[in-house]
């Protein structure tokens, strides 16, 4: 009698375990897929207003659609990357691309090739610590070439003229975004260790390039 009761109890526990085990496996797979997607593919960039940050949103009147950049090419680093046209984040910072392979262009600034400072940014690594588009940006040296392909297919060539590293909270923003003595394209990425309180890397690497043709 006792043996039979125990057997029934074991069977009922096993019957309960079966769907629970399946649920655990499905949950684990979903969690793993989410982490992989979040780590490799999607970079949340806290945009101020999605309407202002999409390619189709109203853009600066003085820049025609054909003059906007569509690709960034850096032959020395093997980079040939799509350009996202973005604005600002909720905290007023230039928006970074929402993935780890594209770069972002600050669409409320200057277009590459025009007088002023056009600015592009790209991630240095992804959320699993593997390399992103600008992982080797620090290998650029003065004299290296950078190219931008505009939406109309025109190719612009820039030359690296300076290379600086600044603290994340103390950069010469006017020099980076508002120079007016030439046609510049400035490339930005993160450097240094992670500052947990600021949720930011400690430094920013800025590569200053100037239009040559």
């Amino acid at each position: 009698m006792f043996v039979r009761t125990s057997a029934v109890r074991v069977q009922s526990i096993q019957a309960m375990r079966h769907p629970l085990a399946k649920l655990l496996i499905i949950g684990a797979v979903v969690l793993a897929l989410f982490v992989i997607w979040r780590g490799f593919l999607y970079a949340p960039n806290d945009l101020a207003d999605s309407g202002l940050n999409t390619n189709s949103a109203a853009v600066i009147g003085s820049i025609s659609a054909s003059e906007m950049p569509s690709r960034l090419i850096i032959p020395k680093l093997g980079i040939d990357s799509n350009v996202q046209r973005l604005g600002v984040t909720k905290s007023g910072n230039m928006a970074a691309p929402n993935n780890f392979t594209d770069v972002s262009w600050y669409k409320y600034g200057t277009a590459p090739g025009m007088t002023g400072s056009a600015v592009m940014a790209g991630h240095v690594d992804n959320a699993l610590g593997t390399p992103a588009v600008f992982i080797d940006l620090n290998k650029l040296e003065i004299g290296d070439k950078v190219e931008v392909v505009r939406a109309d297919g025109k190719r612009l060539r820039f030359e690296v003229v300076d290379k600086e590293i600044y603290p994340y909270d103390n950069s010469p923003l006017k020099r980076i975004f508002n120079a007016s003595d030439g046609s510049y394209l400035n490339l930005i990425t993160c450097q240094g260790e992670w500052v947990k309180e600021a949720k930011s890397a400690r430094y920013r690497l800025v590569i200053y390039t100037k239009l040559i043709e």
Binding site: Q14, R17, H18, L20, A21, K22, L23, L24, I25, A28, V29, L31, A32, V35, I36, G39, D49, G51, L52, A57, A58, V59, I60, G61, S62, V88, S91, G92, N93, M94, A96, F100, Y106, Y108, G109, A121, G122, H123, V124, D125, N126, A127, L128, G129, A132, Y166, L173, K174, I176, F177, N178, I188, T189, C190, Q191, W194, K199, S200, A201, R204
Partner: protein
């Protein structure tokens, strides 16, 4: 059976009075209702931008017994909090079903002013009875846009000239609502530095991956036990 004239007369009078009062509500003739829509207007205006939707207008001829003709749109612009009417330029009216052709003449309301802007149309807009037509009013926004300013667009029934397309009779016009364009947004020319490193989240993500493997392992071992 004889019916008393004292009963017939009041009944006849009541029927006549009812028919007169119904006629007073104008069940015949051209009619159009103009309603300001709010869809697509959630984004703030941006300085130096093009083709910003200022207002959407739904023209409803439900109940009209003939087509309605409209030759102009008397849009009343009200500015507040320092907004300048002149910040809105190259203003155009479109039928939302065909955004490739403007409906207004190029000389009318290219730049807006505060008050009633009577926007003349290239050719008469003929609205068939019992139809809905959506128009949009779009402008370019120049660099003088004032941060925090608002624009309100409305219309006054008295200013709207709508007539029956065939009879020429004045149409009954109803106007519903107005539209307030959200506070303008002036993007910074010097934003802060972008956040371009995600590696700081690596430890957390790897921990989550390990946890997912452990959970999966637990599930598989539980399944295995059952099979044994």
């Amino acid at each position: 059976m004889k019916i008393s004239k004292f009963l017939v007369l009041p009944a006849a009078l009541a029927i006549f009075a009812a028919s007169v009062s119904t006629a007073g509500a104008q069940t015949f003739g051209p009619r159009v209702a103009l309603q300001f829509g709010t869809n697509g207007l959630t984004s703030s205006l941006v300085a130096s931008s093009t083709d910003a939707v200022i207002a959407r207008l739904l023209l409803d001829t439900t109940g009209s017994t003939e087509a309605v003709r409209i030759d102009s749109l008397p849009l009343n612009l009200v500015t507040a909090n320092g907004a300048l009417a002149s910040s809105l330029q190259n203003c155009r009216v479109f039928n939302e079903s065909n955004l490739s052709a403007t409906l207004n003449t190029s000389s009318s309301a290219t730049t807006l002013f505060t008050g009633v802007n009577n926007i003349a149309l290239n050719s008469s807009l003929i609205l068939q009875p019992n139809t809905l037509t959506t128009l949009s009013f779009r402008c370019d926004v120049n660099g003088t846009l004032v941060a925090g300013g608002t624009y309100t667009v409305n219309m006054n029934t008295a200013n709207v000239v709508a007539t029956g397309a065939s009879s020429g009779l004045p149409a009954a016009v109803t106007i519903r609502g107005s539209v307030v364009v959200p506070p303008v947004y002036v993007p910074p020319t010097t934003p802060g530095m972008p956040a371009t490193g995600a590696g700081g989240e690596m430890a957390q993500n790897i921990a989550m991956l390990v946890a997912s493997f452990l959970i999966a392992g637990l599930g598989f071992s539980s399944l295995k036990k059952r099979v044994i």
